[in-house]
């Protein structure tokens, strides 16, 4: 990186006026199947994205989320199923005719062109005249706060700046769909959060239908209207960030979205008992021993005499407004607890903890019951 990231500048009104907001289109994937040789990486993926919506594809690496996006872009042919943009089947339409904008994980600015000409590239390919294209490219660069860097080359920009130019370049043609393939994963943490929020701000302003691929659940939950959680080539659940967090459809989603501890419990009569506390069930489960997902914020440190279970503090991390501590219950189960910063827990302390009576998700007992997530 050769230059420091410039701070986001105030958005000039001119920029918003030239990028139209009337190009939104819905996106549908219908039973999309993709195979590499004999390996099937997408097992019939269905996804609906409403016009103007921001949907994230979230999942661990290798779950097929990037492949799904590349099929949507036409960079990979599907082996089955249908891709629709704006109601029209585009399965046979080549990438350059799909009217999309895409930002890639790796830096993709053309090294031989200045930033302004990079940004104008898509307009020029659509037959817009040089002067007009450069003017609109300048406006798009203003939109991402880099209007003053138009005559630089890509190698003279920091990673965050390059991805912002790539975003401007993808948006300047007013595409019907914006595709983001982990555009933030090569950036450092601070720039990542900054650019993430900026992408969302611009997307809301332009109303461009957006599909965002990420493996970072925090990122997905922060910016999306809806999140599609993927695992092993299938979509496991689609829902608002709040839905996914509080009502995960299954153990895989619960383990992947947000931090959870997995603790032993016993199901009976439609409730599950954890450390003497009865919790309603999120999904029906057979009576008997099970494992229960417990969020750190739903575990409380209580007075020694109260109902609950004893645990030993193993570590405690200060997170600014609060603390998160790792405790080990006497039966060996590890539990994450989130608590006010004033409650100081020191490693080695014995404390009593209890779980809140919020609806909980269970799964059958597996061999290991280590805490999932972070």
């Amino acid at each position: 990186m050769t230059a420091a990231d410039t701070p986001i500048r105030a958005l000039p009104d001119a920029a918003a006026s030239t990028l139209a907001t009337g190009t939104r289109a819905g996106v549908e994937l219908r039973g999309v199947v993709k195979e590499y040789g004999s390996t099937r990486v997408l097992h019939g993926v269905d996804l609906d994205v409403a016009p103007g919506e921001f949907v994230s594809l979230l999942g661990p690496s290798g779950c097929g989320k990037t492949t799904a996006l590349r099929v949507l872009a036409g960079l990979e042919p599907a082996d089955g199923g249908e891709v629709r943009i704006g109601g029209r089947d585009v399965s046979r339409v080549p990438t350059n005719k799909r009217d999309i904008g895409m930002v890639f994980q790796s830096y993709s600015l053309f090294p031989h062109l200045r930033v302004l000409d990079n940004t104008a590239f898509g307009l020029r390919r659509r037959g817009v005249g040089a002067t007009e294209a450069r003017r609109r490219a300048g406006d798009a660069l203003d939109l991402v706060g880099l209007g003053h860097l138009g005559d630089r080359y890509a190698h003279q920009l920091s990673g965050g700046q390059q991805q912002r130019v790539a975003l401007a370049r993808a948006l300047v043609t007013e595409p019907r769909v914006l595709l983001l393939d982990e555009p933030l994963s090569a950036l450092d943490a601070k720039v990542r959060v900054q650019l993430r929020d900026e992408i969302r701000r611009i997307q809301l302003r332009l109303g461009t239908t957006t599909v965002f691929v990420t493996h970072d659940q925090e990122e997905a939950l922060a910016v999306s209207d809806r999140v599609a959680v993927m695992g092993a080539g299938r979509i496991l659940q689609v829902g608002s960030p709040e839905d996914l967090y509080s009502r995960p459809a299954g153990a895989e989603v619960a383990a992947f979205v947000g931090a959870s501890s997995v603790v032993p419990g016993i199901v009976s009569a439609g409730t599950v008992s954890v450390w003497g506390q009865r919790l309603p069930l999120l999904a029906p489960a057979p009576d008997g021993p099970c494992e229960v997902f417990v969020r750190p914020e739903n575990v409380r440190v209580v007075a020694p005499g109260d109902s609950g279970v004893d645990a030993v503090v193993e570590s405690s991390t200060f997170l600014g407004s609060m603390r998160r501590s790792m405790l080990r219950v006497d039966d060996g189960t590890g539990v994450h607890v989130q608590h006010p910063a004033e409650v100081r827990l020191t490693p080695g302390d014995r404390v009593r903890i209890r779980v809140d009576a919020v609806p909980a998700l269970t799964r059958p007992v597996t061999s290991s019951s280590a805490p999932a997530g972070g």
């Binding site: 960079l75 005719k97 904008g101 890639f104 053309f110 031989h112 659509r126 595709l179």
Partner: protein, 267 residues
């Protein structure tokens, strides 16, 4: 400083010995061309001047014809490298990355084949070419196109490896570029240095090639020089020096091109 490097004195001696080995034949050739005409004495430029003497035109005509043929061949060979070989390499990089090893092996093969072996294989092919495309001097460029593959491959592949061809091509595609645009407006501009180096090396190889041209009975600069050498050793030496100077300038240009390229990465 590398602790294994020989002491300064040793390096100077090595430099001198190598320098002398290269300089002796070169200086001898220069002195040879400065030999005065019969009757003269000392050193003179008469034989250089005689090159352009209309009286000698008939004697030197094969050389000029050969030079013209060689330049034509160099041009056609460069066209083959840029217009056929380069798109193929880009195609391999983009669509068939698993073929790269095979492709590299095939491209480097000509360097390990003796020219005579190539000619044995080429003769029947040239019989066919002669029937379909005629026996114009330029047709030898097909053979030269194969001869320069190893050199062209190296410099172009280095340029391809220096950029992320796949991502650049995909980015251009999503921005609405057809395959022609992708190649001409995105990939080729970024391979410029490699292409220029490949072109210059191809020119140097073609201008210096003798064996294939001779065995296929073609008239090029090198074969003409041999012919003229039988009547007038001096003029052959003069053309050899000129060819050397030309190749030297070409190599300088290649070097400069490489340095300009390196400079652009560090503003």
């Amino acid at each position: 400083m590398n602790p294994l490097a020989p002491p300064r004195a040793v390096r100077v001696v090595i430099g001198l010995v190598v320098g002398v080995v290269f300089a002796v034949p070169f200086v001898a050739t220069v002195l040879f061309t400065l030999t005065p005409l019969p009757g003269g004495s000392g050193l003179s430029l008469d034989r250089w001047a005689g090159l352009f003497d209309p009286a000698n035109a008939a004697k030197y005509r094969p050389v000029w014809t050969g030079l013209g043929n060689s330049l034509l061949l160099a041009g056609v060979t460069v066209l083959l490298v840029v217009g056929l070989f380069t798109p193929t390499m880009v195609l391999v990089a983009l669509a068939f990355p698993r073929l790269r090893r095979v492709f590299e092996f095939v491209a480097l093969l000509p360097i390990s084949l003796p020219a005579i072996v190539l000619v044995v294989g080429l003769t029947p092919i040239y019989l066919q070419i002669g029937r379909t495309l005629g026996t114009g001097a330029w047709t030898l460029a097909f053979a030269y196109g194969i001869l320069v593959l190893p050199f062209a491959y190296r410099s172009i592949q280095a340029s391809i490896d220096a950029i992320d061809v796949t991502t650049l091509a995909e980015a251009a595609r999503t921005l609405g570029a057809g395959w022609g645009s992708v190649l001409l407006r995105v990939i080729v501009p970024n391979l410029r240095q490699g292409l220029l180096a490949a072109a210059l090396i191809s020119v140097a190889v073609v201008l210096g090639e003798f064996t294939i041209a001779s065995l296929l009975n073609r008239q090029t600069l090198q074969t003409a020089l041999v012919v003229v050498n039988k009547q007038d050793g001096w003029v052959a030496a003069i053309f050899t020096l000129l060819a050397l100077a030309f190749a030297f300038v070409l190599l300088l240009v290649i070097g400069r091109v490489g340095r300009i390229g390196a400079g652009r990465k560090t503003p």
